[in-house]
């Protein structure tokens, strides 16, 4: 059972960065192919030197409250950082998920992959303005093992 503290309640009652960015520079989607749950991330990016910077970020979740909390936490971390640090954030998040049961990992994985998809979509758009929205599918299963 998840322990509930003030920080978790704050993320559940008022998720940070929830919504859409009008005229976003890139959009990315993380999807659970088993049940259609999704996280959609919108990015506004500025170029600082050679490094793209996440100026603003919003997310939407079609999924459970755990996904919303993960979206709220990860987008807060990602706001204002450069792409290389965001890549590190994604790697650390995915690394941490190896320690937790797959059904608990699926929600955070979906958020991390949607951020990766949005960044990769941005890079794709720099080379080809018609580049579309990337969707990455998660590997962890949301279904507890005993229910399979």
């Amino acid at each position: 059972m998840t322990e509930v503290d003030a920080e978790l309640i704050a993320h559940m009652s008022d998720p940070k960065n929830y919504g859409v960015l009008e005229n976003a520079d890139a959009i990315g989607i993380g999807e659970n192919p088993e049940n259609g749950e999704k996280v959609i991330i919108h990015l506004r990016v500025t170029e600082q030197g050679d490094e793209p910077q996440i100026e603003d970020i919003k997310f939407q979740a079609i999924g459970c409250m755990t996904t919303v909390v993960a979206g709220s936490v990860i987008t807060q971390e990602a706001k204002g950082i450069g792409f290389p640090r965001a890549e590190e954030l994604i790697a650390v998040t995915l690394g941490m998920l190896e320690q937790v049961p797959p059904e608990d990992a699926a929600c955070s994985e979906m958020v991390a992959l949607s951020l990766q998809a949005a960044m990769d979509s941005y890079i794709g758009k720099q080379k080809d303005p018609d580049f579309g929205t990337i969707t990455y599918k998660i590997e962890n299963s949301c279904t507890p093992k005993e229910q399979v």
């Binding site: 509930v4 999704k38 979740a61 079609i62 459970c64 409250m65």
Partner: protein, 278 residues
């Protein structure tokens, strides 16, 4: 007109949240007013459909964290004043007149409502003076956040389906599902307010209500209701030791899900029958 729909959607939710916050006889009036404004919302939606205008259920976030009821009531009255100005853009004079008349009465009543202290955000996490174990309190907290959003989502989905259907059989089912979800949302919202963890449900993604495959939606919905029954049972077991009253409430919600499953099954059979005859 689209903006009018968005602002009416926000007003409905703000009135509902104010109703959750109130612990006095103000609550009943606020619920009645939120019902009236929800009807305005459906009228405006039907007008947009009749005019062939596209629309969605997107809206802004609604700040509701207040310490006194009078603060949110003033915010609601400001929102009504803005709506008064926007409703001029509505070409349907009868509709405009009806909505204006309701809004004027609501505004006048809200400005005379006795003030109250609001404790809906104090995160006390106690309910009806009952002391639950930490584990049961956490389980109840997670359940209320998850399910209050879910009920709001269901209201909007069934409302959208109803708005786009002329079928009397289906619309009867959709209306019952809207009413049931409204009741659940109120029950959970009041509990969240009493526990000091009230929050406005998040905005629903378009793909959830602009449904391409209604039969699949109903099949998935039946599975979700079965899962919700299990959650209610677990919650009832978790709180039974400390509160028979609370355990009975979650048993009651659990058995209500049977009725929802039955209605959704009826709708699914009806859709499949239509397909076979079509």
């Amino acid at each position: 007109m689209k903006n009018l729909l968005i602002k009416t959607h926000e007003l409905w939710l703000e009135l509902l949240m104010a109703g959750f916050m109130s612990r006095t006889e103000n609550r009943g009036k606020l619920y009645d007013f939120s019902n009236i404004v929800f009807r305005h919302f459906t009228w405006l939606e039907h007008h947009l459909i009749a005019e062939g205008e596209s629309y969605d259920y997107d809206r802004d976030t609604i700040p509701v964290k207040v310490e006194k009821l009078s603060i949110i009531l003033n915010n609601i009255n400001r929102r009504i004043s803005e709506l008064d100005l926007q409703i001029i853009s509505c070409p349907d004079e009868d509709l405009t007149k009806r909505i204006n008349s309701d809004l004027n009465y609501i505004k006048a009543t809200l400005s005379k409502m006795p003030d109250e202290e609001v404790t809906a955000f104090d995160t006390s996490r106690t309910l009806h003076g009952i002391t639950l174990t930490q584990e049961a309190t956490d389980a109840l907290t997670l359940f209320l956040f998850e399910e209050s959003y879910k009920e709001y989502e269901l209201i909007m989905i069934y409302n959208y389906l109803q708005a786009h259907s002329d079928d009397a059989f289906l619309n009867r089912i959709f209306q019952i599902m809207i009413d049931e979800s409204n009741f659940h949302l109120r029950s959970f919202g009041q509990m969240m307010s009493e526990m000091g963890i009230l929050g406005v449900p998040r905005v629903i993604h378009k793909s959830l209500y602009q449904i391409e495959d209604v039969k699949q939606f109903l099949r998935d919905g039946i599975e979700e209701e079965i899962a919700a029954k299990e959650m209610c049972k677990e919650l009832s077991d978790a709180v039974a030791k400390d509160s028979k009253e609370l355990a009975a409430f979650f048993d009651f919600i659990n058995y209500q899900e049977d009725y929802h499953i039955s209605l959704m099954t009826d709708a699914l059979v009806y859709y499949e029958g239509q397909e076979n005859h079509g």
